[in-house]
């Protein structure tokens, strides 16, 4: 159950390091003593009942949420109030949201090129070429000039993935990427994520898709009431859960 047993492969550089991290919303203790190390290329699935703090945890990694105690280091940069550090981390960390959060007033292509042009200072032509390449990878290049509102949910989420990839991030955070989708659209998004995992992208996914966890995760983390309760490689996590809380959770979602 410790990191050493199932944790990062030997010799791999640590990419994200979270040490003794706590977070409160007012008086409410949402994250309690989180310790987590992610190496380059690792694929982690975080699961747990709603309100367990899993979304809050990954939102701390790109400082959409502020932690109050402990340390978060991403790619050698510590996240503090320092805006420079925050910007530097956000340039390296891509994020996909449950509700897509595409920019409705911009076309799909503009959604994808905005950040590369203004943050990476990429010439517009190059940014568009990159964007088209990633839109092809998520298999919707033909929608490039449409507005998000004209696309289905699954298509919108694939655009959101392409938009994040256009920044050439070193790690991708997925915050329940399939929860807001109609059932028939879940697969097209998961397929994209599986292929991304196959290419060696470092990924942290908050998801209830246990099939996805079995297929691609190097490690499954179970959270409950703001704590990391248990983590293990998927085979052992599903076949031999250690804690009672994990067993209860798994019995509820695996019918």
């Amino acid at each position: 159950m410790t990191n050493a047993a199932v944790g990062p492969a030997q010799g791999q550089p640590e990419f994200i390091q979270i040490v003794g991290m706590h977070k409160w919303y007012g008086e409410f203790h949402v994250l309690r003593d989180i310790n987590l190390t992610v190496t380059r290329g690792e694929r982690i699935v975080i699961c747990g009942p709603s309100g367990s703090g899993k979304s809050t945890l990954i939102r701390c990694i790109n400082r959409l949420e502020e932690h109050q105690k402990g340390q978060i280091v991403v790619d050698g940069i510590e996240l503090t109030g320092n805006l420079k550090n925050i910007d530097a981390v956000r340039r390296e960390v891509g994020m996909v949201f449950q509700s897509f959060n595409l920019f409705p007033h911009l076309t799909v292509l503009e959604n994808c090129t905005l950040a590369p042009i203004w943050v990476r200072k990429m010439p517009k032509k190059d940014a568009e070429a990159v964007a088209m390449r990633f839109l092809e990878r998520v298999r919707i290049p033909e929608q490039a000039n449409k507005y998000p509102g004209q696309l289905s949910g699954g298509q919108q989420q694939r655009v959101a993935i392409a938009r994040a990839l256009c920044m050439n991030p070193k790690v991708m955070l997925f915050d329940e990427p399939t929860s807001a989708l109609d059932p028939e659209m879940v697969k097209e998004v998961l397929d994209v994520m599986v292929s991304l995992a196959g290419e060696g992208m470092t990924m942290l996914c908050v998801t209830h898709e246990m099939g996805f966890a079995r297929q691609v995760a190097d490690r499954v983390i179970f959270m409950d009431r703001g704590e990391i309760v248990e983590q293990n490689v998927p085979e052992l996590f599903f076949s031999n859960p250690q804690s009672e809380r994990t067993k209860l959770f798994l019995s509820q979602i695996l019918h």
């Binding site: 959409l64 949201f97 409705p104 007033h105 950040a115 203004w118 943050v119």
Partner: protein, 377 residues
Amino acid sequence: MTSLSSPGPDLRTGAADLLPPRSQRGVVGWMRENLFSNWLNTAITLLLAYFLVRWISGFVDWAFVNAIWSVPGNNTTACREARGIGACWALINEKHRFILFGTYTYEEQWRPLIACALFIALYVVSAMKRFWNKWLMAIWAVGLVAIGVLMWGGVFGLTHVSQERWGGLPITLILSTFGIVGAFPLAILLALGRRSTGMPAIKALCVVFIELIRGVPLISILFMASVMFPLFLPDGLNIDKLLRAQVAIILFAAAYLAEVIRGGLQAIPKGQGEAADALGLSYWNKTLFIILPQALRIVIPPMVNTFIGMFKDTSLVLIIGIYDILNAAKTSIIEPAWQGFGVEAYIAVATLYFFFCFAMSKYSQKLEVDLNRGMRR
């Protein structure tokens, strides 16, 4: 028809293509439904129609049929005889140059005329989507300089016309154009400032400014600008009265507009800002490219509301002795010969105001449709 393999036309004209019964279609159907559906509705309809026809025909008689369009010299006897029966448009005929251009040197009044035409041309150009590029700023700069040169003179062989002599429509257009151009960016900054979480001092400043300015009538701000403000200035330094009124109008409009824009900012889902943050966009990039374009689109109707209100509010400058078009119209009937023909003067000015306000309103509706076209599902 007999063959099963070829579907007859009856299959294509299914139930969906049927029209509603004839009695419920078209103008007759609409009237039957809405105006004559029962005896009470029919009675109300007929009664209102009677009053409407009487009132309209009365107005047409007064404004056109019995109207007096011109009088010889300043002899308004004919007008006085027709009081209450026919309008005295001779007043407009006689005084339109004073109403439009105030006391501006008579022989030079072609200059404010061109200035007004330039203003309207600038509005029209700015309203056209194909001019929405970096040249628009340049067009405005050139246009405003040209207007300034025309109004002031003193160069290119134009005689100098001191600003105290300006009046009429150019004043109204100057005050409202610069009012909107000045208030809009200020309002955006105030709205952003009021919503900022990281800078409590700036936030407090914005809140105090907005609440203070909104808490007092425009008239009192104009009085302050014209009477009290000069008292604080050192002797000899005198900022022009029109400029002081202009600043007062900008500040006043900005406070209202800021709250309108803040409403738009609040309507943007939190996820939009988070997505921009997650992509590493800076605060100003996020605000400029993601938040404001969406927020301003939402508040086009209340923004235009504020603009129209402000356009008409410029007429309040009459209380500090500036001759905008309304004040000029009021002054045009001071002369004994023309006293008592206020209705005609005010109708003429009201028509002009309506023309501008209605154009703004219509344009904003078109703009809303245009901007939302792509975003619609």
